[in-house]
């Protein structure tokens, strides 16, 4: 299996008024094609910052990044944004925690899909875009894609909006999908449907999925491998089975034990 993501000695500092605040220090790991990997950590672990650097997404805080991130052959730390544009959507998809933050509030969804598709020259006409969008929305489980497309983001529930975002992120069949806490804001029954959807995309298309979460239930039930983050350090990594049965680091043990104890009883 080829390596799609290679992170080497990445450190991230936030440049705040008081000086440089270390968020992530010296992290290295690899993700292979077709894996479903989770980046697990609690608040303040740096997982969100790390994943934004991996996807080369802007942050509101000025930051300094050292180390290297090789994603599908692109140097995500140093390549200028204009050049990365060609791989966005086509090879790398991104889904965030708040779907409404990723959908334009005023444009009809149809137009948003058309923007995305025509920007990458995947379709020539609005009609082509609409057809492709409809098919995509059906595949992500939306029952009436045509009326959803004619409508607006604020008419959707959280779960449906997230499905639309996933549809938009995967419409051009990227090789990698990065999901930053995609279900944290959703109800349990909805969460399971979204995760099932991501798992289906992973299985059927071989799409590599990197999912950031703090929910160990997600890790246990959906992921092959996990990377455990604590206060900016990669404390342990390995297959999910190994982490649950033989955690090595005391933090991992505490994290996994404070929950698995419950299940056994």
């Amino acid at each position: 299996m080829s390596t799609v993501l290679s992170v080497k000695n990445v450190a991230i500092d936030y440049l705040v008024k008081e000086g440089a605040k270390p968020i992530v220090s010296d992290i290295s790991f690899e993700v292979k094609a077709g894996e479903m990997v989770s980046l697990v950590g609690e608040s303040g672990s740096g997982k969100s910052a790390l994943v934004h650097v991996i996807a080369a997404l802007p942050r509101s805080v000025q930051s300094r990044v050292t180390g290297s991130v090789d994603l599908l052959g692109y140097d995500m730390v140093n390549t200028p944004a204009a050049r990365l544009r060609e791989m966005r959507g086509t090879r790398l998809g991104f889904v965030g925690q708040n779907p409404f933050g990723l959908l334009h509030p005023i444009l009809p969804l149809e137009r948003q899909f058309h923007h995305v598709l025509s920007a990458h020259k995947k379709t020539k006409s609005k009609a082509d875009s609409a057809r492709l969008a409809e098919a995509t929305l059906e595949s992500v489980g939306i029952r009436d894609p045509r009326s959803v497309l004619k409508g607006y983001a604020n008419q959707l529930s959280g779960g449906m909006a997230q499905r639309v975002v996933i549809g938009m992120a995967t419409i051009m069949e990227p090789e990698v999908l990065i999901a930053d806490e995609p279900t944290t804001a959703l109800d349990p029954t909805v969460q399971v449907q979204i995760l099932d959807l991501l798992a289906a995309l992973n299985r059927e298309r071989g799409m590599t999925v990197l999912i950031v979460t703090h929910d160990l239930g997600v890790v246990a039930n959906y992921c092959d491998k996990a990377l455990v983050l604590r206060r900016g350090e990669l404390v342990e990594q390995g297959t999910v089975a190994a982490l649950f049965t033989e955690p090595k680091h005391p933090y991992t043990r505490e994290l996994f034990l404070s929950t698995s104890e419950r299940v056994e009883s």
Partner: protein, 273 residues
């Protein structure tokens, strides 16, 4: 033999109007909570579980129906009398920081129930505040600090200390650990368990987390769109759910264990969300 429940709600209904449309948040529900028991009110967003909690606490007025405390209807009482009864029925909210007045010190926050009810002298208040803080695992020196100086877990402990200082009979816990990290959740859960045993408290636990429900509640009621669709001992609700929605809810639980096989994928057209 039936004992008088601590809290009983009868045919409670609450409708909200939003942008000209009205919707029934709570639709004719009835419940009892006995002394010393933990009842979980389970549901997802829009189920009406939080509104039910707010109705019991007096933060909303019901459109119809009644809330009874120790068998006495609150409707028959004056506003002043109801306020006096509030000492027995306290609350811990989901958001630790927002539940505390940022301008007051911890000591004043925890001691406020005693001031409001006028039940203790200044010295007694200091003493009881100290004891409440210790009970929840905080050092007494915290009393001089401000909420913003505390971590999330500590802030939630302050909220719990405030809830127990007046020796209540029941606490309404509205998703008390949802905003906290996993490792902290366990600690707070332990504190709540211990207090329940030591002080013989009844809990109304409002949540959507089945894991917590399993762990701490005796009975569970499942809410959907303002109605209770199923109610019974927790073991039965979680082990053998009867109502289709309950089954979906229990089925959506993600057990934190690799012992069970990975979920099978059923990508269906279920987008009625």
């Amino acid at each position: 033999m039936t004992r008088t429940p601590v809290v009983e709600i009868r045919n409670l209904t609450k409708t909200f109007k939003r942008h000209g449309l009205s919707f029934r948040a709570v639709d004719d529900i009835s419940l009892t909570i006995q002394a010393g028991e933990t009842l979980a009110l389970i549901g997802e967003s829009g189920s009406g579980k939080s509104t039910t909690g707010r109705l019991i606490l007096g933060l909303e007025k019901p459109d119809s129906g009644d809330v009874l405390f120790q068998g006495e209807s609150l409707q028959t009482k004056s506003a002043k009398e109801v306020r006096k009864l509030r000492a027995n029925l306290t609350v811990v909210f989901q958001e630790p920081f927002e539940s505390l007045n940022p301008r007051l010190r911890i000591g004043a926050i925890v001691g406020e129930p005693l001031v409001v009810q006028g039940v203790a002298s200044a010295e007694e208040r200091v003493e009881r505040t100290a004891r409440a803080l210790e009970r929840v695992g905080l050092s007494v020196s915290m009393a001089d600090r401000f909420p913003r100086e505390l971590s999330g877990g500590q802030q939630q402990r302050v909220g719990i200390a405030r809830a127990i200082i007046g020796n209540p009979q029941m606490i309404v816990l509205d998703e008390p650990t949802a905003s906290l990290d996993r490792t902290i959740r366990r600690q707070i859960g332990d504190v709540l368990e211990e207090l329940k045993r030591d002080l013989n408290l009844a809990y109304l636990l409002i949540t959507h987390d089945i894991g917590t429900v399993r762990q701490v509640s005796d009975r569970s009621a499942v809410m959907l769109q303002g109605k209770i669709v199923e109610i019974g001992p927790t073991a039965e609700i979680t082990g053998d759910p009867q109502h289709p929605y309950t089954q979906r809810l229990i089925g959506a639980e993600l057990p934190v264990s690799v012992a069970k096989p990975r979920r099978t994928l059923i990508p269906g057209k279920e987008a009625t969300l």
